[in-house]
């Protein structure tokens, strides 16, 4: 049971969605875009989120597209994680997506919602950070395309009133050799203590992490450490630790020390997996 009333809109085009947003906010209603609804509904029920108007973007055709435009894969923001995982188009994204929540929830959770989630994990973002993905966004100033990391990297979220339509990824990024590991506290379904998505171009390894710090991150200096063949996994872990953007998370799921231990194990597994490149 949600303890507040809200207007619900379901526009068919980005233009309609934006004008709907203008009207609702003009009436003084706090307005949010809405897609799978898993986060809105569960947090609204517990009183952690509220809104006066909700604009559901699932009927906007662009947001439901998954197709190649030449060398670019266009991923509609309202595609569910299971749709993406099942499509076979983007194997690393499929791995990361399948780690999120449980199967029933992934039938609803969308890629746009996950990369913009209010939770600190946003694991579907990891492959997209490695791919230097672009975001196609509709906003008051019209449509624009910009690096996804500018929008939602470094702990950022989409500005209010901006609508994520699609995520764009290059074929080269999609086809790179890749690696994904997720470690939870105990049960398979759960938030990551650490998730690591990595890909490789020649001997150049890039990695993106979730769970380790307060936000998912990918850092150029960390990529350098991961690519440095002279370092043992232990040495890599120590280096990465010194480069982390914020303190290692310590919460009810795990201590910071254990997260670092898990990170070390993952780097071992990564080194084993790509032994031939070392």
């Amino acid at each position: 049971m949600i303890g507040f009333n809200f207007d619900y809109h379901r526009p068919g085009t980005p233009e309609e969605a934006l004008s709907c947003f203008r009207e609702s906010t003009g009436q003084g209603l706090q307005t949010v875009f809405y897609s799978g609804g898993t986060e809105f509904l569960t947090h609204a029920r517990t009183g952690e989120i509220s809104a006066g108007a909700v604009i559901d973007i699932k009927d906007i055709p662009e947001c439901r597209e998954l197709q190649w435009d030449g060398e670019i894969l266009m991923i509609g923001a309202a595609l569910t994680l299971n749709e993406l995982a099942g499509s076979g188009e983007y194997p690393l994204l499929a791995l990361a997506a399948k780690g999120v929540a449980d199967h029933t929830s992934r039938n609803k959770i969308t890629i746009g919602g996950n990369v913009n989630s209010r939770l600190p994990y946003r694991e579907a973002l990891l492959p997209l950070l490695l791919a230097d993905a672009a975001a196609k966004v509709a906003g008051p100033e019209g449509e624009r395309t910009l690096p996804l990391s500018e929008l939602v990297g470094q702990g950022g979220r989409l500005p209010s009133g901006e609508l994520l339509l699609q995520i764009l990824v290059s074929r080269r990024a999609v086809e790179r050799p890749h690696f994904f590991r997720k470690k939870t506290r105990m049960t398979k379904v759960g938030y990551p203590l650490v998730s690591l998505a990595a890909d490789r171009e020649g001997s150049r390894i890039s990695g993106a992490f979730s769970g380790l710090c307060g936000q998912p991150f990918r850092l150029a200096q960390v990529d350098e450490v991961l690519s440095d063949k002279s370092l043992t996994p232990e040495a890599q872990a120590a280096e990465i630790r010194s480069l982390l953007p914020t303190a290692v998370t310590a919460d009810q799921y795990a201590s910071a020390e254990y997260r670092l231990f898990v990170l070390g194990r993952m780097l071992h597994e990564l080194a084993e997996e790509w032994e031939e490149c070392r």
Partner: protein, 780 residues
């Protein structure tokens, strides 16, 4: 013993299987009624604070709000053992999530909106955040004067000026002198936090008061007659004016055995002129506000001679009962009286404390003190075996309790009141392929190991705990059974139907059991807890069947013109034993026998029966001396795990239970019940735990972050076997088995992980991080 069972021992399908599988069963939360009003609670955001004010001004402005009830409107304490808990907090709050006010509104969302607008201001008090903190001299007090509260039973001993809600003592033999005789001793400490029952159905209750003063409660309780008692004792209403209706219950695990929602629903209904009001907890309220599973800090010291004979045991249990004693005081007592586990120890010293903290309060949980004490005892047994250089199985066998021995409360065990613990252990050893508890290398650098535990439990029911049953006949000769045993998923109604089928030698399909319970027409029953229902209600059904059979024979004797004692019953007939083809169908006599001329004699047959506990006593305050329970069921459990030493993750390959349940009435359901118990035990042991911050706030009061084992994470293989030493007092030789699958899982898992890592695993839950931490600091 009778041989050649009719229905007992058959793997009959549950009589409620189809409705449940089709999803057509109605639970309390499914009932709608015109004019139904909705209640929501305002709960405390603090774990320990004085209430400065509760401002309801803004809440009244929400449309549809009909009543707001706050704590000072009912400033009295209630409780099942010690009356220490106000239904709504007044003056101070003692846990985060404690009810402070009730909003009653026309619609549920209105009530919820209004509840969110109540402004409570607090003056914070220092928080008592663990039982050991609570026991420290000078600790803040959760209750200023625990000794002043009304006692509802005799065996509860609060200590004023401390955080002790009850202190139970066991003094057997000369524990002081015995230690000098021991060649080896071991002392170790254990702990785990409070956890949740997490039944699939969150708790809900509805209440109304009709114009003639009858109070009708609909609830998902295990204890309908206790609801009547509580309303009578504390709310000054006549016992007979309270009617309690219980539909099917969607899982309970002990959490619905105590009375919490119903008084709140009653107060809510009273505040709106007796209208029907529903109070239904969200999952989060069910976890945070409703009572949960008790926590424990324990220290166990065991001593043995060089032959591996246990000579002395000392047990200190600090139970984290949270803010109120509730059934925690009973758990404290139950753990004390079985403190040794199923071992014969001549010298026993136990101090079991029910400790107040500022945590959500605890109540009964499947096993009632026994999963808790078994974790501490069975871990210590493994340690002492190692020190003695004995195989853990051999060490347990040398000390396993048997007829002729005495329990810690000096109750004498006989062949009838205890099962065969050695036999259970030997069978478990064989089935798990016991290898001495050693770690073995497995493929991929993994390590496999096995751990086991031996356990027992008696049921500390009230000394006058009882059940009744009524049997009525249809005109077609089929039978209806009414009994106040609650169906909560354990299959009790099916077992009772089988017992009746056995007595009447009538197919199960001709027996219909009323699934719901209504105190207005069902005979009195104590409660559906303590693995006692097959025993108490089963015996009541047998007694009702005997009554019905005698009456059927009396009528049949008229019809058949013979002596009653020459008649037998079976397959829907009463027949003349010397010539069985000569008889009368039950349908011809069930509503009286009609002669060809229309004259009718005897009228309908109604069978009534009851059974009450025999020769139970309370415990002596100073020594614990007494006979607390009717029988002890014993069993052995084992697990095999595979651990990845690289990251300390593990999975459970096999989980095994061998239980001496006496005669098993329904082997398929019994096996399923053991599997369910093992799953619950493994989930509690491996992942479940409420986490508290420094202020005593629960950090994980939702299933988003309170992690349980999920479907698919169960052991790869379950193994269940039964030793069947008949219990002379039980129906057809059956003992209680409901709780037993849980009891030994935590120590079996911890023993296996200790074997795999060489580390001592003495804390729950056993997450990979717990194992990693212990392995880093443990001695390999």
């Amino acid at each position: 013993m009778e041989q050649g069972w009719y229905s007992v021992g058959q793997p009959e399908q549950r009589i409620d299987a189809e409705e449940k599988a089709r999803g057509t069963v109605r639970f309390v939360g499914d009932y709608l009624s015109p004019g139904l009003m909705h209640a929501k609670l305002v709960t405390s955001e603090r774990a320990h604070a004085e209430i400065r004010s509760v401002d309801v001004t803004e809440a009244w402005k929400v449309p549809g709000v009909r009543a707001i009830i706050t704590g000072e409107m009912f400033p009295f304490h209630i409780g099942p053992i010690l009356a220490d808990r106000p239904p709504l907090a007044f003056k101070k709050v003692r846990y985060c999530g404690e009810p402070l006010a009730i909003i009653v509104a026309d619609a549920e969302d209105q009530a919820k909106q209004a509840a969110e607008r109540v402004v409570v201001t607090y003056d914070p008090l220092p928080v008592v955040n663990s039982p050991s903190d609570a026991m420290r001299p000078g600790s803040p007090l959760v209750h200023e004067d625990a000794g002043s509260y009304q006692k509802l039973i005799s065996n509860v001993y609060p200590v004023s000026g401390t955080n002790i809600g009850s202190h139970i003592k066991i003094r057997k033999g000369d524990a002081g002198a015995a230690w000098a005789q021991c060649d080896e001793t071991v002392t170790a400490s254990y702990s785990f936090n409070l956890t949740d029952h997490a039944a699939m159905e969150p708790r809900a209750a509805m209440a109304e008061i009709n114009p003639s003063g009858k109070i009708i409660i609909h609830s998902c309780s295990q204890s309908p007659f206790t609801i009547k008692k509580v309303l009578n004792q504390f709310f000054n209403v006549e016992l007979g004016n309270v009617i309690v209706h219980i539909p099917l219950v969607g899982g309970a695990f002990g959490g619905k055995g105590t009375v919490q929602l119903e008084p709140l629903a009653y107060l809510a209904s009273k505040a709106v002129g007796g209208k029907l009001v529903r109070l239904e907890y969200s999952r989060e309220e069910d976890m945070r506000t409703a009572p949960c599973h008790i926590g424990l800090e324990a220290t166990v010291r065991l001593g043995a001679d060089k032959d591996g004979r246990l000579l002395a045991g000392q047990y200190t249990f600090l139970f984290d009962s949270g803010a109120y004693t509730d059934q925690g005081a009973g758990v404290t007592r139950a753990a004390a009286l079985d403190c040794t586990g199923p071992y014969d120890i001549a010298n026993v010293w136990c101090d079991s404390y029910c400790v107040y903290t500022n945590h959500p309060y605890a109540t009964s949980f499947r096993g009632y003190g026994h999963p808790e004490l078994s974790f501490a005892v069975e871990r210590t047994m493994d340690k002492l075996a190692r020190r003695l250089g004995l195989d853990p199985v051999e060490f347990r066998l040398r000390n396993a309790i048997k007829p002729g021995d005495e329990t810690p409360t000096q109750a004498v065990l006989t062949a009838n009141n205890i099962g065969d613990s050695a036999q259970c252990l030997l069978r478990a050893k064989e089935l798990i392929g016991w290898d001495g508890g050693k770690a073995r290398e497995a493929a991929g650098g993994k390590v496999r190991s096995k751990g086991l535990s031996l356990f027992w439990k008696t049921s500390t029911t009230a000394t006058n705990a009882q059940a009744g049953a009524v049997i009525k006949f249809e005109a077609d000769g089929s039978v209806n059974l009414n009994c106040a045993a609650i169906e909560l998923g354990q299959g009790t109604k099916t077992v009772l139907a089988q017992i009746l089928s056995e007595k009447l030698k009538m197919p199960l399909s001709k027996i219909r059991v009323t699934m719901e319970v209504n105190t207005q027409y069902d005979p009195h029953q104590w409660r559906t807890v303590a693995s006692s229902t097959t025993f108490l209600a089963g015996r009541a059904v047998m007694s009702a069947a005997d009554d019905a059979i005698a009456k059927l024979k009396k009528t049949a004797a008229v019809a058949l013109q013979c002596a009653e004692e020459d008649l037998d019953i079976g397959d829907g007939r009463v027949y003349y034993r010397p010539a069985p083809e000569f008889g009368v169908d039950i349908q011809e006599i069930a509503l009286g026998y009609k002669f060809p001329n229309g004259h009718t004699v005897s009228g309908q047959v109604i069978g009534v029966g009851k059974h009450v506990q025999t020769h139970l006593t309370p415990m002596d305050e100073k020594t614990g001396f007494g006979k607390p329970g009717p029988w002890w069921s014993v069993g052995a459990q084992a697990v095999e795990i595979e651990l990845d030493p690289a990251d300390y993750s593990y999975r459970v390959l096999k989980a095994l239970t061998v239980l001496d349940g006496g005669t098993i009435i329904n082997p398929r359901m019994a096996e399923q019940q053991m599997r369910g118990g093992m799953y619950l035990g493994l989930s509690f042991a491996s992942t479940e735990s409420f986490r508290f911050d420094a202020e005593g706030i629960v950090l994980n009061p939702s299933l988003r972050d309170y992690q349980m084992l999920r479907f698919g994470e169960e052991p790869a293989e379950y193994m269940v076997d039964f030793v069947q030493t008949p219990s002379a007092a039980g129906p057809y030789g059956a003992r209680g088995i409901g709780e037993y699958g849980v009891i030994g899982m935590a120590p079996a898992l911890a023993n296996a992980l200790s074997a795999a890592t060489g580390a001592e695993l003495d804390e729950l839950p056993l997450t990979p991080e717990t194992v990693w931490r212990a392995a880093g600091e443990g001695s390999r």
